[in-house]
């Protein structure tokens, strides 16, 4: 198998939630998360809010430092083997809030051109690049280049944010709920733009969203997260048609569908996720799982390989081969 372009190895991130000494509380936002990205693929990441999706994204692009674990780019550990600044050029991020992502005192051209100048481009080169990219994401540079963030619509701003990420000529872009705040019609246009860019430039995406329909539309593989852990990961097709983790099943069951025949009659997910400060023992999902049995409350499930490239961390699959 080829070297993955980007991989996460046992990432752990805890946030302090107050308290001192023995009473110190930590939020286990991301707990032992590992996965790999093949060059040119799109990995969708889904889960309820608070499951650690955004923290994973920020760990992946090194905006947060993990308590333990590492990120590798092209096989090299970021930090010791690959300088952070070189890594920054290769892996970029687009955020959910298109307005907060843009400096309100900078014009769109300046916002896009900032990245290249950090990496040594001259001001003129960077501006030219910014103009080309504005054009590429569908905004007339003559009309929009000199504007400020509040003078653009949400969809236009998100196009600028994509252009800003592209200005580094990166290989990987992490999109954290990048289209979630947009109107449906605008969302579709931006998704199409993302798919065009992926084809043209051979980009690799990590596409984080709570919208399972959108994730299915754009992703090759999908990772399901629950309370800071990977519940299930596998090819989009098999994960959507044959989910092997009860949590994935519940999420899919709660998914709105226009086709009445495809609506499931299973009980959707009840209640809110447990508090990540004090997660349940054993399998973290057992408190809400309809199929919980013997070992679920005490034993942490391993990642069982249920099909080729398809892993599920659920005791129901214990007859399968253990991977991790």
């Amino acid at each position: 198998m080829n070297t993955p372009i980007l991989s996460a190895h046992n990432l752990v991130k805890h946030f302090s939630a107050g308290g001192f000494g023995a009473k110190r509380k930590v939020v286990r936002a991301v707990d032992d998360v590992s996965f790999e990205l093949a060059r040119g693929e799109t990995l969708g990441v889904v889960g309820e809010s608070g499951c650690g999706k955004s923290t994973t994204a920020r760990l992946l692009v090194q905006l947060l430092t993990p308590n333990s674990g590492s990120v590798r780019f092209d096989g090299k550990v970021v930090g010791p083997e690959l300088p952070l600044k070189a890594f920054r050029r290769q892996v970029q991020m687009v955020f959910q809030d298109s307005f907060a992502s843009l400096n309100p005192r900078m014009t769109m051209i300046d916002s896009i051109a900032f990245g290249p100048t950090v990496h040594g481009a001259s001001a003129a080169e960077a501006r030219r690049k910014a103009q080309d990219l504005l054009d590429r994401v569908g905004l007339d540079p003559a009309r929009f280049g000199g504007r400020y963030a509040h003078e653009l619509s949400g969809g236009q701003r998100q196009r600028v944010n994509i252009a800003r990420a592209l200005a580094f000529d990166p290989q990987v872009i992490v999109l954290d709920e990048a289209v979630s705040a947009l109107d449906k019609s605008v969302e579709a246009q931006v998704l199409n733009l993302l798919m065009d860019l992926r084809r043209e430039r051979g980009l690799t995406y990590v596409f984080i969203s709570h919208d399972l329909n959108v994730v299915r539309h754009i992703s090759d593989r999908v990772m399901v997260m629950y309370l800071g852990e990977v519940a299930e990961i596998g090819p989009a097709s098999s994960l959507y048609t044959a989910p092997r983790h009860p949590y994935t099943k519940a999420l899919l069951a709660a998914m709105p569908s226009l086709d009445p025949d495809r609506r499931t009659h299973e009980a959707p997910l009840a209640g809110d996720p447990p508090n990540p400060i004090d997660p349940p023992s054993g399998c973290r999902f057992h408190t809400r799982c309809a199929q919980a049995f013997g070992p679920c409350a005490t034993q942490v499930p391993s990642q069982f390989a249920v099909a080729k490239g398809h892993l599920a961390a659920c005791h129901l699959n214990r007859s399968e081969e253990t991977v991790a």
Partner: protein, 295 residues
């Protein structure tokens, strides 16, 4: 170019993009009270600069025979002080030291306090905790008391006065700078800049400063009025500026004994302090609403 639905939709502010400062300026001009206050403040500053050309007489040269002449005396339109010096000229010249003592400490404190507060806010963590807790100690003194304590210990003199006032204004400015920076730091454009690989110094310079200096500056201008009153107050107590300099607070001090002889003459320097303080106060309020800074 790809034609999409969104960029066909006309926007209210299309094409001629309005810079932030131009918008602030036009909003400010609509505020009549603030414009008047600004004109008065500008007038006072001009009066200080051009004092030698405006003042009819030497502010330090007195005629003993004219001591405490009432307002309206021939050749002394606003009377003469306890040493027979022309009041009008002393009031005009007084603008120099009085404005200097009122404005300069705020400017220095703005520079130092912003640097401390922005650094603490951007770096966060224990740097923030230690810096802000240390400043809390100075904050625990009422400002008048702290200014008097420091200049009382250092003794009279212009430099000592400037120093004590600067120390008084650093903690409040640093506090505001810290809270503004902390809120800006959490925004995603700062994360985006961090993801670009730029150094912290460059991010602060290019992305933080432009978004925090405005609110901090507005806050600092609101302190000028307090500073004017305090600076004159120090001279009034015999700290700060010393005789025979013309400074409004000091003039109030030396004329205080004359209130039974020429009461309204003795009150004149205070009118100048009041006028300066209130015009800076209203100017600062106008600036705040024009820049849309929430308190």
């Amino acid at each position: 170019m790809a034609v999409t639905a969104e960029n066909i939709v006309p926007l209210a502010t299309v094409d001629k993009s309005q810079g932030y400062w131009r918008a602030v300026w036009s909003r400010f001009l609509r505020d009549k009270v603030a414009v008047c206050a600004g004109l008065v403040a500008a007038g006072l500053v001009l009066m200080a600069i051009f004092a030698p050309w405006i003042a009819p007489a030497d502010p330090l040269q007195g005629t003993m025979l004219k001591r405490l002449s009432p307002i309206g005396t021939e050749g002394y339109p606003l009377g003469a002080d306890e040493l027979g010096r022309d009041m009008l000229s002393r009031l005009i010249y007084g603008a120099r030291l009085s404005l200097f003592m009122g404005v300069v400490p705020v400017l220095i404190a703005f520079a130092i306090g912003s640097a401390i507060g922005i650094a603490a806010g951007y770096l966060g963590g224990w740097v923030n905790t230690i810096t802000m807790r240390t400043l809390d100690v100075l904050y625990a003194f009422p400002s008048v008391l702290l200014a008097i304590a420091i200049s009382g210990a250092l003794g009279a003199g212009i430099l000592n006065g400037l120093l004590s006032l600067t120390v008084v204004f650093i903690p409040p400015i640093a506090r505001v700078a810290e809270s503004v920076t902390t809120s800006v730091r959490k925004l995603e454009y700062i994360e985006a800049a961090q993801a670009s690989g730029a150094s912290s110094l460059r991010i602060v310079r290019d992305h933080v400063l432009g978004n925090v200096l405005g609110p901090i500056f507005v806050y600092a201008t609101s302190l000028i009025s307090v500073s004017m009153i305090l600076a004159a107050g120090l001279s009034f107590l015999g700290l700060g500026v010393s005789p025979p300099n013309a400074e409004w607070g000091l003039m109030l001090n030396t004329l205080r004994n004359a209130i039974y002889v020429q009461p309204w003459l003795a009150a004149l320097p205070g009118v100048m302090i009041f006028m300066t303080s209130i015009s800076f106060n209203m100017l600062s309020d106008g600036l705040r609403s024009a820049m849309d800074v929430k308190q």
